[in-house]
Structures are given as C-alpha cells and as structure tokens.
C-alpha cells in the first residue's frame, strides 16, 4: 500500500511539474498565433485561419501535457515498484498473459472499427479490368482474413492460456513431420490458387478483350509538375513527336510536319475526356524524371519513363454523372494523380478524368477545342532551334 502511495505521490509531483510547463507551452501557442496572423497578413501566403491554429494549439498542449504526465507517472510507479516490491517472475508472467488477452481484444476492437468506418472510401473500380482485379481482391481478402483471424486468435490465445503458472510444465514436443507437411502443403495449394487467378487477371490487364473496338488514344506526358494531355483529333491518330522538339510553346514536342499532327488537340485544362464503355489507351511519356500515371478509380497505374514510352489500356464503365449520382456527391470527380516521386510538388499533379455518357458528348466537347496547328503556327522554327542547340 505504501509503495502505491509513494508511486502516486511521485506521479502527482510530476504532474504538478508538468503543469508548470503549461505557461511555457502557452507561450509557444501565443507565438504560433502571432506567426499565423503575420503570415495571413502577407498576400502570398496560403490562408490559415486563426481558428485552425487555436485548434491545433489546444490539441498539442493537451496532448503534450497528458503524455508527459503519463510517462512520468509510469516511470515513477514502476521505478518504485522495482525498488520496493520485487514481484516474482511467475506473477509477472501471469499479469502479462492476461494483458495479452486484454490487448488482443482492444486490437480486435480497433481493427473492427477500422473495417467499419475506414472502408467507406475503399475504391471498387469503375473499369472493366479493374472489376476483375477487384474480384481477385475479394478472393484474396477472404483467404487472408481467414488466416489472419485464425493465426492471430491462436497467437493471443496461446499467449494467454500457456502463461507461466505454478505447477505448469511445458510439453516437450520438438517435431511432427505430418504437421509440417500439412502446413507446408495447405499454404502451397492456396497460393497456387491465388497465383492462377493472378496470372489470368494479369493477362486481362495487359491484353484486354476490346470487343473489336478501336481504343481512344490519349497521350499523357509527365513533367515537373503537371500532366500534359494530347488527343489525336478527328483522324484518331497522334502525330509524331520527338524530345528534341520540346520547347516552352511545344510542350509535347509534336512534329508539325507530320500530317497526323495537324488536328491533334492539346488540352488547355487539366482534363482528360473519355467515354463510358469505350476503351481508352493512355500513351505515356515523361519529359524530365519518372512520374506515375495513377487513376485509382479505374485501377490504372503505370510509370511515365523518360526515354521509354509506356501505355495502359482500360475501359471505364460509368460516366462521371453516374458516379456522382451513385456517391450522392455533386462535386465528385475521377482524378489522375502522380504515383512516382518526381520532386517537391509531386503531391500536387492533379488532373481530372471526365467520363462522358456517350460519344456525341465527347465530340461536342472536342470540336470546341483548338487544334494543334492553330495553337502552334510557327512550329517548324523551334525544331531547327532545338537541333541547332545540339
């Protein structure tokens, strides 16, 4: 009893000590607020409301206080226990056996909570191949979840059940060949199933059955820090390009002497326009460093590699309008992100993918776009300049 009192006495003293830090923390907060006000006053800075700062401040202070107090109490309590009340190893084992049970339940609850509330943003693909990936995902999920629950339950149960107790003896059980074969064989067979499924879907991803449709080609060029988007125009063919033709005004390096280039459309907004149920072929390049074309809602992900063109084929199954209705979110948009680190603004290479209901909608939009030749009347000049440079 005395020990406990002593522990808590120290704890209390520590808490008081911690509280005496509060003014210091308050001072920090004061500074934060001042700084925020200063920054907000500057025209270039992003708007940070004093509210948010205050919010954060109280968070940090409370947290730091709590953590500090808890840690000090803990250290003092256990330190005093060691000195005054050595507990036997057996009692300790008993305590921690029970703790495994308790913590196991807490973690189970936590994981359950995560599955309830944080799967709501899980992406089920709106693309043909993506849905096949999702089926494989579901199979894998069922299998791994089963194994996860079974093995973790076994682990925590054993940790609890077989904790050291007076009179217990461990079972001498060094080997059992049958068991070894069983639990080598079962995972092997299960994995064989997953490999089989995986290879089939892998094939679908790379050689999708387009039902004889010709895919809509779109060129995506990654650069620090934006996506350049080019459509082939009415002829459906992208004009040739070369990296030596790249200039500030010819950001795709399009070769204007190529007839196919004349009606190419270079998007002015960061929007990719495609059509529901019509295959799309992303032709992907990078200008400077690696980038990654990542459209999570369609399970599209492919690197953009300088010097090596890549591509990705997919067919969207929902229009943007449908997706908005389904999600009851008028502002919803399919997004294109960069998935491969490319520099300081890697986190900010946004483009939007707009899926039209039908081809007519797309054509309406396309016909309003300026074609390449209009954008770039003197396009032969930079070409010679680029060559001259080398």
């Amino acid at each position: 009893m005395k020990i406990v009192q002593k522990g808590w006495g120290w704890g209390l003293a520590a808490a008081l000590l911690a509280l005496s830090f509060a003014p210091a923390l308050g001072q920090l907060g004061e500074e934060a607020r001042k700084r925020a006000a200063e920054i907000a006053a500057e025209p270039t800075s992003s708007a940070i409301t004093a509210e948010a700062v205050k919010d954060l401040e109280s968070w940090v202070i409370t947290l730091a206080g709590i953590v500090l107090i808890l840690v000090l109490i803990a250290i003092n309590r256990v330190a005093s226990l060691v000195e005054f009340a050595p507990i036997s190893q057996q009692k300790t084992s008993n305590i921690h056996g029970w703790t495994f049970l308790g913590v196991g339940l807490i973690l189970a609850a936590f994981i359950g909570y995560e599955f309830m509330y944080h799967t709501k943003y899980h992406i089920w693909a709106d693309s043909v191949h993506g849905q096949k990936i999702d089926s494989l995902f579901t199979v894998t999920f069922v299998i791994t979840m089963f194994v996860f629950v079974a093995t973790q339950a076994a682990l925590f149960t054993f940790a609890f059940l077989y904790r050291e107790r007076p009179g217990r003896k461990a079972l001498y059980y060094p080997d059992n060949h049958t068991l070894e074969y069983v639990w080598t064989g079962i995972p092997a067979v299960t994995l064989l199933i997953l490999v089989g499924g995986g290879l089939l879907v892998w094939e679908e991803v790379h050689n999708p059955d387009l039902g004889g449709q010709k895919p809509q080609e779109i060129e995506l060029v990654g650069e620090q820090f934006q996506w350049r988007i080019r459509y082939p125009g009415m002829d459906g063919k992208l004009g040739k390009h070369g990296f030596k033709l790249l200039t500030a005004t010819n950001p795709h390096g399009v070769d204007s002497s190529d007839v196919n280039a004349k009606d190419d459309v270079i998007a002015s907004a960061k929007e990719i326009h495609i059509v529901k149920n019509k295959p799309v072929l992303f032709k992907v390049r990078a200008k400077d460093v690696l980038h990654g074309v990542y459209a999570p809602h369609f399970h599209v992900n492919i690197y953009a590699v300088p010097g090596m063109p890549t591509q990705f084929n997919f067919t969207p199954t929902k229009s943007t309008a449908e997706a908005r209705k389904e999600r009851e979110n008028e502002k919803f948009n399919y997004e294109l992100l960069c998935s491969q680190l490319c520099g300081s603004s890697h986190f900010n290479m946004r483009a939007v993918i707009i899926v039209h209901e039908n081809e007519k909608e797309l054509n309406d939009w396309m016909s309003k776009q300026a074609t390449f030749i209009k954008n770039e009347p003197a396009s032969t000049e930079p070409e010679s300049k680029a060559t001259a440079q080398l």
Binding site: I123, D175, Q389
Partner: protein, 654 residues
C-alpha cells in the same frame, strides 16, 4: 566510469582462485583507445554497433514525427519547427523539399543504419562467437574496420543535413533520373552526392562484416557444434551475411554508374530528357536498368533486415516458452528457402514500371512461392508456444509481438506480390503500411527482444524489466495504431511520398485519420525514450547479472559474466546437443532446461551446476560439474596466452 571500475574489481575477484597469476596481464595494458574506441573484441564492437544504431534510430524516429506533424496539420505554423529547422521550415511550416528529405533520410537510416548495421552488426558480432564457441571473429581487425566504416558512413549521412541544398530527397530508392540530375530538385544536389558516398562506405562496412561472419561460422565452431546443432540465431546471421555478400555489390555497381551519370556525363540511366527548358544530350540509357539493379539488392535487403529478427525471436521464444523450437529442421529449411528465393523476386517492385508483362508473371509466381516458407515459420512459432509454460520477460513480449506483426504484415504481401492486385496499390499508403509492419516494426521488435535478452551478456547487468514492460505495451499498441489504418488510406487510392493530403479529393478525406496516426506515432516514439533511459541507466547501474539469467540452453551463457578476451577461461566448452532441449521429459520434474554444453556424463552425475545462479567457474574444485577443468592450463585457452598474443599483434585463434 564507476561501473567499469566495479567490473574490473569483479574480474579480480573471480579470477583470483585458479588464474590469480594472470591478473598482472590483460586489462592493465589496455588503453582507453584500444578498449573502447579501436577495439578488436567482438563484444565491444557489437556494443559500438548497437549504440551507433540506436542513436541513428532516434534520429530517424524523430524525423518521422516531424513529417507526421506536417501530414496531420499541413500548412499550420508550428513555431518550434522553425527554431529546429531554420530555413527548412519558414514560418514554422515544413518546406516540401525538406519533407521529402526527411522521408528519404528516415527510410535510409531505418533500413540500413538501424536494421541492417544496428541489428545484424550488433547481434552477429555478439552472438556468433559466443554461440558457436569461438574466441572471436575470424578477423578481429577487419571486424574493427567494419565498424569504423559504418561509423564514418553514419557521420557522412548526418553531415548531409548541413549542406546548403539539404540532404538527399529523392526517396530511399534513389530512382534516376531524379537522383541523377542535380538540377531536378535541391535534394538531388550535394546532399545526394553525400548519400552516395555514405552508402558506398556503408556497403564496404557491411561486406567486411558479412565475410567475417560467414568465415567464422564455417570455420570456427567448437567441438560438437555441427551445423545441425547451430542455434537458429546463428543460422539466420549466417544466411543474412551470405545474402549481403551476394547482393550489396550489385548496389555498388548501380551506385557507381549513378555517380558516373551525375558527374561524368555517361548515360547509363538517362535518355531523352528535357529538364527546365534544356534538352540533355544523354541518349540510350534506361531508368528501368537502375530499378533492376536496385531491387536485386533491395529485395534481399528486406530479408537481410528480417531474418536476424526471426532468428533472434526463435531462440527467445524457445527459451521462454520452455519448449524446444518446433520443427528446428523446418525452421532452417525455410530460412534457406527464403534466402534462395529472395534473389528471384525483385521484380515485384516493378510491376507497373513498364517492364515486360511476361517477366511480371514469373515474378508473381516466385513471390507467392516465397510466402510458403514464411507461413511455415509462423505455424512453427505458434506450435512452439502451444502448451508451453510461457515466461514473460520483456524479450519474450517483444518476440510474441513480432509474431503478431509478422502475420499482419506478411499477409498484405500477398496483395502486393500478386501483379494485378499491385496495380492499384503500387506506391500507395498500402505499401507504407505493409512494409512498416512486416519489415519495420517486426524487425525492430526482434532487435528490442535481442537487446533485452542479451543485455546481460553485453553489460554484465540486467535491464529494468518493468520499464521494459511499459516500453513493450506502448510500442506494440502504437505500432498497430500508426500503421494499420494506413492500409485503408492506400486502398482508397492515396499515393505515398505526398507532402500534403490537401490537393486531391481522394486524399483530403483522410485529414482526421492523419491526426490520429500522428498522435499515435508521437506516443510510440515517446515510448522509445523509456527504452533509452532503461538502456543507459541499466548499463551503468543495473543489477549485476547472474550467470544464466533466463535459464537458457545456449552456449553463450557458459561464458563468464565479465568480459574477457577470448570469451572463456580455459578450454572452450564442447557442445553435446542442439540448444533447444527444454522441458525434457526424462529430466522432469527436476529441471526444465539442459544446456548444450552439458555432457551426458555430467548429466548422470546428478550435479546440476547449470541451475546455479553464480558463475560456473566458482564450482571448479567442486567436482564433476565443472566445464573448464579438463584442461585448465591448455596453452591455447588461457587468458594469459590470449593476451600475450594480442600484444604481439597477432590474433587469438583457436
């Protein structure tokens, strides 16, 4: 230093009886420099690796808190940040370039400096000689060099924080062209050069260490220590060293070519680049080549990190469950299987790189095959715990924690290793969750387990178990709280290495969860200070360690508590069986362990000296149960000779 003094006194007391005349040799001749700095003793070198690794670990951990603060409260001014980081956090808001620098150096430090050098370096050095019965490493001198190369490389890595353009910021995978073009971002400038220098030094260190471990294990085992009796720790260190020797040189070649591309104008990785308005002359190179070379090291590297942790926990779980490790042979074969397969799965990091899809199919198959030995290991762990009599020391808690994390993180590998499933998940937070759990947390747990378990062997003192318990529970829970939710962020399509979640609809929905993760991370990192306090205070003032504190079977516990050159007084003990004979029915109910250095004869003699809590050599003269009595003045084994040889500059060999 008072603790050291106490230890010295101890040496006198213990050696007094039979080896009194040796006292005027030995430690008097050792200067501070040869004993603590340029030591060639494997036990001291192991402590050097550990403490350097721990310091780097704290640096890496604190970095993670800094960038986690940015993720939780993007753009919010935190005045202390500016105080701490100066121009890298103008107005208290972390600069995006510096965010990437923190992430990069955090990853590099954790993977290489903490979990490769800090883990393998520490425990291979400490345990290989002690567990196989050798006086030291095959080459103590190269062993010393290995540490000093590691130390230098750590210093260079830390120095890179003080250059104008900041440290490397291109991700720990340093993919070119970003890493090859100093103009592409500040973190690809001088900081990147220093990163490459540091890693080159690191690889030299790692190769020296690994070759030493391999040779020592193959050639210097004591009588009776056949390969089939090797503790699983030693198997793990041995195979880890082989992986290192075979894969690190490939990284060197990749790094050298990168250095050429950076400074000599070659085009190994560069082609058709137009950077900031200028078309570069490089033609014909391929960044994909770099990925192949990098991951040829990179994948074995994750097993270089993990296998020692698995070995360590196998040993600890058997000891504390008081049961033989279930399926010793299967455990060894799965380590062998993992080692072999780890060389042919690297392509699973490149499924969406534009690599030929056909190649992808092969990597899918290989990757899922490697899951089989991992599953076997898990089941064997569980079977070892089953019907045990589990004694919860802090080391045991961390070992059980490792099994849990190994399962959780291993299973998500089945998603990432299966090509098509990796397509939506590649480079998202799902990956961050996966590798932190299976490689980061699990291996760190193995490392902690090892430190708690073998601390008495390192310092001759015990750690405070209660602080150890607090450390474990806080770390275990926060590991799950920090990393488990990241799976869902990744499944919702948020890429990794993002400075802020604010720019996209898919990411901005996660702001509140990010706050939760960051708070958990702060608690988790905070808990490590309990460990640090415990470690250093116990090293200085901890309770004196008994001879065999955990009643373990391992050979290392037959060596005297105090550190001596050559590890054992007298002859090195002979080994009579494997190290996992716990709770043998024929010894029931008298004892539940039977050290591998106890002969059947001694066993029959009935004097179970190994159960005593005082140093075994004190039973000398007491008759049958004594280990070095056979040849007390064997010319090879006496400390005297070992020391004399040292003075002549030769290595004490067996």
């Amino acid at each position: 230093m008072s603790a050291e003094h106490a230890l010295h006194t101890d040496v006198h007391v213990h050696t007094h009886g039979d080896h009194g005349h040796h006292d005027d040799h030995g430690h008097h001749k050792e200067t501070f420099l040869t004993k603590y700095i340029f030591s060639q003793d494997h036990k001291m070198i192991s402590k050097q690796f550990l403490i350097t690794g721990m310091i780097m670990g704290f640096i890496g951990g604190i970095m993670s808190v800094l960038f986690r603060l940015q993720l939780a409260w993007p753009g919010t001014p935190l005045p202390f940040m500016e105080g701490l980081l100066g121009k890298w956090a103008p107005g208290g808001v972390l600069d995006p370039n510096f965010y990437m620098a923190l992430v990069t150096i955090h990853g590099t430090i954790m993977v290489f400096f903490v979990l490769t050098a800090g883990l393998s370096g520490t425990f291979s050095n400490l345990l290989i000689p002690l567990q196989i019965g050798a006086r030291d490493m095959a080459s103590p001198f190269i062993n010393m060099l290995s540490y000093w190369f590691f130390f230098t490389s750590s210093v260079v890595m830390v120095i890179s924080f003080f250059v104008e353009t900041g440290p490397a910021a291109v991700g720990w995978t340093i993919y070119p062209p970003l890493s090859a073009l100093p103009k592409a971002m500040p973190g690809a400038g001088l900081g990147m050069t220093l990163w490459l220098v540091s890693m080159t030094l690191f690889i030299i260190s790692s190769l020296m260490g690994a070759l030493n471990y391999i040779v020592t294990v193959l050639n210097m085992r004591t009588k009776g220590m056949s390969m089939s009796r090797l503790p699983l720790t030693v198997w793990a260190f041995f195979l880890t060293a082989i992986l290192g020797v075979l894969s690190f040189p490939v990284l060197v070649s990749a790094v050298v070519m990168l250095i050429f591309d950076r400074s000599l104008g070659t085009s190994f990785y560069l082609s058709e680049i137009y950077l900031q308005g200028v078309a570069l002359p490089n033609q014909g190179g391929s960044p994909i080549l770099f990925m192949h070379l990098f991951w040829f090291l990179g994948h074995p590297e994750v097993y270089i990190i993990l296998m020692p942790a698995l070995g360590i926990t196998s040993d600890i779980i058997a000891t504390n469950a008081r049961k033989p490790i279930f399926g010793y042979k299967a455990m060894v074969f799965s380590l062998l299987g993992i080692s072999f397969l780890s060389f042919i799965v690297w392509g699973h990091h490149m499924f969406v790189s534009g690599m030929n899809p056909l190649l992808g199919t092969i990597f899918v198959i290989m990757t899922l095959i490697i899951a089989v030995p991992s599953a076997v290991k898990t089941f064997n762990y569980l079977a070892t715990l089953w019907k045990g009599n589990i004694r919860y020391t802090p080391a045991m808690l961390f070992s059980v924690g490792l099994v849990s994390l190994f399962i959780s993180g291993g299973l998500t590998g089945l998603y990432l290793g299966n090509g098509p499933l990796d397509v939506p998940l590649h480079n998202t937070y799902f990956v961050v969750a996966h590798f932190h759990i299976v490689m980061g947390a699990a291996s760190i747990f193995g490392m902690f387990a090892g430190v708690y378990h073998w601390f008495p062997k390192m310092f001759g003192r015990m750690m405070n178990p209660h602080l150890g318990y607090a450390h474990f529970w806080l770390t275990f829970i926060s590991a799950y709280f920090v990393f488990f939710p990241m799976h869902f962020i990744g499944l919702a399509g948020v890429p990794r290495r993002y400075y802020a979640f604010t720019e996209f609809d898919v990411s901005s929905v996660w702001m509140d969860l990010n706050v939760f993760i960051t708070i958990s991370a702060i608690v988790g990192v905070g808990a490590q200070f309990i460990f640090a306090y415990n470690f250093f205070s116990s090293a200085l003032t901890g309770k004196r360690a008994p001879q065999n504190p955990w009643k373990s079977n391992g050979l290392e516990w037959s060596a005297p508590v105090e550190h001596i050159h050559g590890n054992w007084y007298g002859e090195i003990p002979t080994v009579y069986r494997g190290p996992y004979e716990y709770s043998r029915p024929d010894l029931n109910p008298e004892t539940d362990f039977l050290p591998n250095y106890v002969s059947d004869e001694q066993l029959r003699s009935g004097l179970r000296y190994w159960e005593q809590d005082y140093p075994y050599k004190d039973v000398s003269g007491g008759g049958g149960g004594e280990i070095h009595e056979h040849q007390p003045h064997s010319p090879v084994a006496t400390p005297e000779l070992v020391h004399r040889k040292d003075e002549e500059g030769k290595e004490p060999t067996v």
